[in-house]
Symmetry: C2
Subunit: 106 residues, 2 copies
Amino acid sequence: MFVAMNRLTVRDDYVERFEHLFRSRAREVDREEGFIDVKILRPTQAGKPYIVMSFWEREADFQRWVSSGAYTKGHNRAFADMHEARETGGPMPMSSDMETFEVFAE
Amino acid sequence: MFVAMNRLTVRDDYVERFEHLFRSRAREVDREEGFIDVKILRPTQAGKPYIVMSFWEREADFQRWVSSGAYTKGHNRAFADMHEARETGGPMPMSSDMETFEVFAE
């Protein structure tokens, strides 16, 4: 099993919008081949990032989704927020750091 | 749902032993109240840590387990390896950084 964890540092004034986007997600990724599960994690310690964690049968399944139009479409609201920040010269609402893993024991 | 992620930086010469310990774990934690799941993750990127990730109904379930004799007993082989490194003045086989989260969307 392959695990992708996106560590997202979210600005305080974007947290409410960030959580809303995930709570109201379209669930299109759930129908992708090889998709197993997704969990979105809120830190319980100060100064730690949010984590978007998805589980896949194989890394290739994840990479195919990332390269697909479905990925772009699934992130269009967040991408629009980032685009607006760039256009207006405002602070970026979040920054990300992708980490990837294989499950070797359960 | 509560998620505890222990980020473990493992020395190259301890990786084989580290993976063996988890593959042969006693599975005692699986019977703890509030325990849901555990996954042990190997990084697929250079320079990234292993992650031991456990899922619990509530944070209190995790904290009770950490404070219990079962936790100490469940880690006795790794703790012995760390103790030996300290006694002999050798390099520590690993270092850890615990991060904790709440699942707010799936």
